[in-house]
């Protein structure tokens, strides 16, 4: 398990970067508070309830995670550290795991922040423990999906490009992730694009579970997200193999 040392290093680099940790906690907490306040002032007609907001903001927060993970990998590639690491007898899969696994605790932390802040703002959790686990699972998978996409961006682009592409994806998630704008209301090509991507499926599945939906009713959305995660993971491994010997 040689990759664990590298994974540990990547985790420590995150923990020791106060800016990163501040954004990791501050972004979901801040967005939740702002939209909760907006929803409250809009009155009873508003869809910005904590039940709707918490899963949506969690998905939105993962888009930032995507950008950070891309930039971390791109920065290591630009510096000589990754070159040095690539001279070690590690396989492409080891590298992908080393760079993506440390973000899983961050995904869990972000879910915890969203639900913690949501609880303070009056979020009602599903009574069934199975549904709580299911919503956690859906968010964990979309979080992992974002990290794997971050790996791809980090392997394809330099730091500045990864930041720019990451910002574009964040905007895309905000607009087409079904978080604040109903995809059906957008209609046309925007609906098609949003529906083809995994973000709206994750948002929809998590919200439905929060409102008591069973696994079978959210299964198509869930599998859609899992499919993307597997494809991104395989593509990341392929790209790492390509990058290992330029």
């Amino acid at each position: 398990m040689r990759f664990t040392e590298l994974a540990t290093r990547n985790f420590k680099e995150m923990l020791r970067d106060p800016m990163y940790m501040g954004l990791e906690i501050g972004i979901p907490a801040g967005f939740l508070a702002i939209f909760w306040s907006l929803g409250r002032n809009m009155g009873d007609e508003s869809f910005l309830t904590t039940t709707m907001l918490v899963p949506g903001v969690a998905v939105f927060g993962f888009a930032f995670l995507l950008m950070f993970s891309a930039m971390t990998l791109a920065r290591d590639r630009e510096g000589a550290l990754l070159s040095r690491l690539l001279t070690a007898p590690l396989k492409p899969r080891d590298f992908i795991l080393s760079y993506s696994l440390p973000y899983i605790p961050m995904v869990i932390l972000q879910i915890a922040v969203c639900f913690g802040v949501g609880a303070l703002l009056g979020l009602e959790m599903p009574v069934n423990a199975g549904l709580v686990f299911l919503v956690f699972l859906v968010l964990l998978v979309i979080g992992t999906c974002c990290v794997e996409l971050g790996m791809i961006l980090g392997l394809l682009f330099n730091v500045n490009q990864a930041s720019a592409v990451g910002s574009t994806i964040i905007t895309l998630v905000a607009l087409l992730g079904g978080i604040w704008i109903d995809l059906k209301a957008l209609g046309g090509v925007f609906y098609d694009v949003g529906n083809a991507l995994p973000f709206a499926h994750a948002t929809s599945a998590a919200r439905d579970i929060m409102m008591g939906a069973s696994f079978s009713s959210i299964a198509p959305d869930f599998y859609w997200v899992i499919g993307y995660t597997l494809v991104f993971s395989a593509l990341g491994t392929f790209l790492f193999r390509w990058r290992m010997v330029e």
């Binding site: 040689r2 990759f3 664990t4 040392e5 590298l6 540990t8 290093r9 420590k12 680099e13 020791r16 970067d17 510096g79 000589a80 550290l81 070159s83 040095r84 690491l85 690539l86 001279t87 070690a88 007898p89 590690l90 290992m244 010997v245 330029e246």
Partner: protein, 314 residues
Amino acid sequence: MSYKTNGNRFAIQTFSLSRKFRDLVAVDDIDLSVKEGELFSLLGPNGAGKTTAIKMLCCLLKPSSGTATVMGRDIREDPMAVKQIIDVSPQETAIAEHLNAWENLRLIGGIRGLAKKEVKKRSAELLEMVGLSKRAKEQVRKFSGGMKRRLSIAMALVSDPQVLFLDEPTLGLDPQSRRGIWEHIAELKGKKTIVLTTHYLEEADALADRIAIIDEGKIAALGTPQELKDSISDMQVMVVKAKNIHPDAIEGLKEIYPEVKTTEGGIEIRAKELSFYEIVDYLRPRGVAIQSTSLKQPTLDDVFLYLTGKELRE
């Protein structure tokens, strides 16, 4: 491809090793043999192909044609086996900035499969060797450039590799830090095979058992530092210290002696036959105030200039 030739064990052998980047031939048909335990230097200016050659030997870059072996293992056919026995200190300072020195060494030891106990023991020895024991628990982003380089070299040694690649280990360091690094490298001489790339002449001269002068991807000359200097022993170098050296005088002198170099406070003239009187008689009437003249022994700089027609700029 033999691992042993005429009784010598070769740590590295290259066989028509080449690498092209579209139209640019970075490494051009290189055939080299580095003996086990030798400190071998690739000397050349920036862009000569040194780092490209090292990257191929470290399996980071595929050769366009040809191949090489490291301790008998082929870089094309068995890169994982090559990676098991090498380590590298890259040109840029390749360290994890938010980790401390201990953690950086543990990282490299860990990914190279060393047991934790062994990493701990070797790390303590190496930190002592490079003089970083007292600051081992500080995050390395607070280190100076020289300290980072020393740590980078220690990281390359933690797995006790059979073959060590040092790519421009003192690039950009001040003279004092550079000499400190030289001492550490000198301590390793004879203990393991080291390939050192540099464009600092004194570095290659002071450290290397043998030097390959590389220019435009080709090996221009190969030998011990003394052999290379002896190869141009029939070349004379005259150093003229003078004031009021103006371009017209230099240009005119170049018509008599093509190899004239301006230095700080003087000029250097290289030729197989030099005439003291001819030079003085040429410069004086043109207003150049000569303070002193001397003949000097050829240096590697002279060898490089003689072989390539170019200078190695520091």
